[in-house]
Symmetry: C2
Subunit: 259 residues, 2 copies
């Protein structure tokens, strides 16, 4: 259809000359047509690749589109990162790095155990909301049965501190009497992630089959309250108001009733 090669955006800071190339080719020669910026270029490539892989999956992603959206030439991808799969793995590693890095700043150690859990849920939920590409990338990688992730050395090492962080919270909660039982921290984290991840990652199909928009503000708030109430009720044994409140909200307004 449309030839992507002709769409390759010129590099940043091109001194506003590219548009007039036709009018004065001779003069253009004396001026800088592009600037070097390897680091910036690499970052823009990775960002564009993240969007592309998230939007279309590994097989559906187009190298040309990534280049175009990065304001680069296709050749640059191979020069700066490598082939399509290398690019994909770099994006994936970056995505894990980013979330685990933010999680490290959660500082759950200084909170009451129930508050710590609530904060973890709140963070996870909002992180997924803010970074929908992350969800899509994980799904893509799981479709590939983690083939690429297995090759990655970086990723494996960055998860044990995170698990330990949760384990500490659980242990403290049991000792303080806030929690009735000492759950396996990995199991607990998977459950928390599951509640957030599935809702958001599958919101498109769920919205269709249940006939309500699961992403609108009220629905999102309701969901967060539901998840916190669910997990805390199970851990502490005490019911919270929110869990009860969530009851009818989704069903009362008639236009949101599933047909």
């Amino acid at each position: 259809m449309n030839n992507l090669r002709s769409q390759t955006a010129p590099c940043v800071l091109q001194l506003g000359l590219c548009d007039q190339r036709a009018t004065d080719l001779a003069k253009a020669k004396r001026v800088q047509k592009w600037q070097r910026d390897p680091e910036g270029m690499r970052l823009r490539i990775l960002e564009a690749a993240k969007q592309e892989f998230a939007a279309h999956g590994l097989a559906g992603a187009r190298v040309d589109r990534i280049a175009a959206n990065a304001g680069a030439n296709k050749r640059m991808l191979y020069y700066h990162v490598g082939n399509k799969e290398d690019l994909y793995l770099a994006v994936l590693e970056g995505a894990y790095e980013k979330i685990r890095s933010e999680e490290r700043g959660l500082d759950l150690e200084h909170l009451d155990p129930p508050e710590a859990i609530e904060r973890l849920i709140d963070f996870t939920w909002n992180y997924f909301l803010r970074n929908p590409e992350f969800l899509a990338l994980l799904n893509t990688e799981n479709l590939a049965k983690a083939r690429h992730l297995k090759r990655s050395t970086k990723v494996k090492s960055m998860h044990s501190p995170f698990v330990e962080m949760i384990r500490t919270v659980v242990t403290r909660g049991v000792e303080s009497g806030d929690f009735r039982v000492a759950v396996d921290p990995v199991q607990l984290y998977i459950s928390i992630a599951a509640l957030c991840f599935f809702y958001l990652s599958n919101s498109a199909t769920l919205s269709v089959i249940f006939g309500r928009d699961l992403l609108k503000k009220e629905a999102r708030d309701e969901r967060l309250a539901h998840m916190v109430a669910l997990v805390l009720a199970a851990l502490t044994g005490k019911s919270t108001a929110d869990f009860g409140n969530a009851v009818g909200q989704g069903t009362r307004s008639p236009e949101r009733q599933p047909v």
Copy 2:
């Protein structure tokens, strides 16, 4: 690489002649080379397509491979179903049809509310375990933002009875005093599906980052117990033995410790 076109498997019931075609071509002419079987062919195509789409996603799926695995010619797909996207939608609709159909047989109405919930979790979990393609298909469709599902008329209509089924259980549970709160049935189902779905759908990456095999028998049993305990504890307010039991199992055996 290898030319798929030459791999097209002959039709079923070819009277065992195909292997000897080279030896006696003349005689073969007098015998049936293939049999008509439109319904069977359609089914085999859909089954092969399901596997292919589940394994590679929409963009990654190869029409040639589907044809080959269906023991058919590529042209047959277009003859019996339509183009690639039609094929994909047919597969997707069939997948929804199948799970909702099995769910209808659950007969939760005649169980105690807590038992009914446990049974629903148990069924969902095992259905996902038995039908991993279903998970992959849903992920693929969500990557496409439910673009195809929205076009489907069949799918939307088959979910309201299911939601009503759950709503009845919840209402009965509240009336009997088994449940402390009347949760929104959609919210509850999404949570149950989430706990099962995410664990299985993402088991590949999770197994890598947490350094344990989440699909082995013990891990699966442990997970089911954890989920049932989590949901029932939140609904009933009573702790169950399993939730506590699950504590250390994942962490005690040293080889499963995340590094």
